[in-house]
Amino acid sequence: MSTGDAMSTGDAMSTGDAVKAPVLSATSLVKRFGHVTAVDDVSFELMPGASLGIVGESGSGKTTTARILAGLEQPTSGTVTLDGRAVEGHSRRARLRQARRLQMIFQDPYGSFDPRQTIAQSIAEPMRLHAPGSRKEHRARVDELLDQVGLSSRAGQSLPRDLSGGQRQRAAIARALGVAPRVLVLDEAVAALDVSIQAQILTLLDDLRRDTGISYVFVSHDLAVVRYITDTAIVMRHGRIVERGETEQILRSPRHPYTRLLLDSIPSPGWDLDRVARDRRALDLL
């Protein structure tokens, strides 16, 4: 995860087709829980094959935004537009349409599998719902997907508890890809993994994007990870977007004091905790 090859991810943008319509756009999303406004007027667009980072601390509203995109929360106001059509209501048809276009990867790869099903069964199940076909076709597709994410077919016959964290996250990615979505929302998808495994998963995600033209919404608190995997980013604080732009640009010369604070908070030589604390107090007074 050196910063040197961070910009190479931008190449995927140019290989995308000429369609200029965004595959996903959020318009003025607001989500209130009682008196708390978790998401406050969040708008962004995601082009086909692009990768957008949503950065912020815990409580910044980034996860709530991701959950709204995936249909796990209903926005208080505002709309999500997928593939040119607004996601509306919670009907069975609307949810199926949404699921076919957008899938989500969770932070806890172990928890996101039914502990009693083998990995191959778990991957085949959403496939049966969204892409009807014979048992044989599905089995072939499962093997293909396992291969694509770098898992052996033996891993496919294992239960989730017999795999390592990295293998489980690969399996979760395979399961999401089985639906052939256009957008993948990754909510802290590598936060629970060891650093070396993180790098492998990030490389895998990068390759997948280049090969399939899928788009990512990458939610993370980890700026190094976001720098590697995304082209553009938005920085959220208290539910609002405080800064947006090219990821590299934001991280190299942050304009908003909060972004600067996030960058200063990363442990590094000459790290000044007092200054970070001082800056945070100053920011809270704003």
Binding site: Q98, Q103, M104, F106, G111, S112, F113, P115, R116, P126
Partner: protein, 289 residues
């Protein structure tokens, strides 16, 4: 989910592997009773209804009647074997019925939440507070003797016993992230509940139902003893004990003691097995975390 200290965990794992000696005995005894009941027409030495007043109240060990005879000369061993059929089938009916009701209500309460949960849970509390035997007797008083009515009544009063456990496990399991991952994949609530939640609730349900089976057997035997259950000429162990009352007063307790012993040993075996199932499931779950 749980933080386990390695040393403690190793010890509990060792203890888990060493199955208590009584468990195979309990399972073996239940198997024996089930086979005896199932194959009674083949294995029983006599017809259970063949009376012979000349041979009445023979003590155990008599040639031809190894466990003796009752006051009308019927072979006790044959009757205990035939009695096993109703004595095991009727509680099985109770367990199956209450299992279905308990699963339905428990899952409904856990998944719907809100007022549905409140209504179902309070309803189950009320039924739970009502003595099962009393409810069964009330129902029999209305419908007349016979096994169907008490089986239904007991099934209703055992429903909370199953339903409350199903509800709490389903709530716990339903909060796990994989439930949400299935929702994102576009699956309906019913599919996720039946296809993924229920199988993960099943182990606890089986352990709980095993215990319920023992309670139901005792309750049904008590009803039959009171003359409210099985109608003659059908017989279960409870009605056999009841018919032996006069013999016991005459100082010939055998024909009543043996069916009583059958009830006792069966229920103890069932409870041992149920406790063991419940315990080993608990262990397995904590190991998986």
């Amino acid at each position: 989910m749980t933080l386990t200290i390695p040393a403690l965990r190793a010890r509990s794992a060792r203890r888990g592997r060493r199955r208590p000696l009584i468990v195979p005995f309990a399972a073996g005894f239940l198997l024996l009773v089930a086979v005896a009941g199932l194959l009674a027409p083949v294995l029983a030495p006599h017809s259970p209804d063949a009376t012979s007043l000349l041979d009445s109240l023979l003590p155990p060990g008599t040639e031809g009647h190894w466990l003796g005879t009752d006051s009308t000369g019927r072979d006790v061993l044959s009757r205990v074997m035939y009695g096993a059929r109703l004595s095991l089938l009727a509680p099985l009916g109770v367990v199956l019925l209450s299992g279905v009701l308990g699963i339905a209500l428990g899952l409904l309460a856990a998944r719907a939440g809100g007022w549905a949960d409140a209504v179902v849970s309070r309803g189950m509390d009320i039924v739970f507070a009502f003595p099962s035997l009393l409810l069964a007797m009330l129902v029999v008083a209305v419908s007349g003797p016979g096994l169907t009515a008490p089986i239904c009544a007991l099934a209703v009063s055992y429903t909370p016993f199953v339903g409350r456990v199903v509800r709490s496990v389903a709530i716990q399991e339903g909060a796990r992230p994989y439930m949400e991952s299935y929702r994102v994949m576009g699956f309906g609530e019913l599919w996720v509940t039946l296809r993924h939640l229920l199988p993960n609730v099943m182990p606890v349900l089986i352990a709980q139902s095993t215990l319920a089976f023992g309670y139901a057997l005792v309750d049904l035997a008590a009803l039959s003893y009171l003359g409210l259950g099985v109608r003659p000429p059908d017989a279960d162990w409870g009605s056999m004990i009841s018919q032996a009352r006069s013999a016991i007063l005459q100082g010939e307790p055998w024909s009543g003691l043996l069916p009583g012993l059958a009830v006792l040993l069966t229920v103890v075996s069932v409870n041992v097995l149920g406790e063991h199932l419940g315990g080993s499931i608990g262990r397995k779950q904590s190991e998986g975390a």
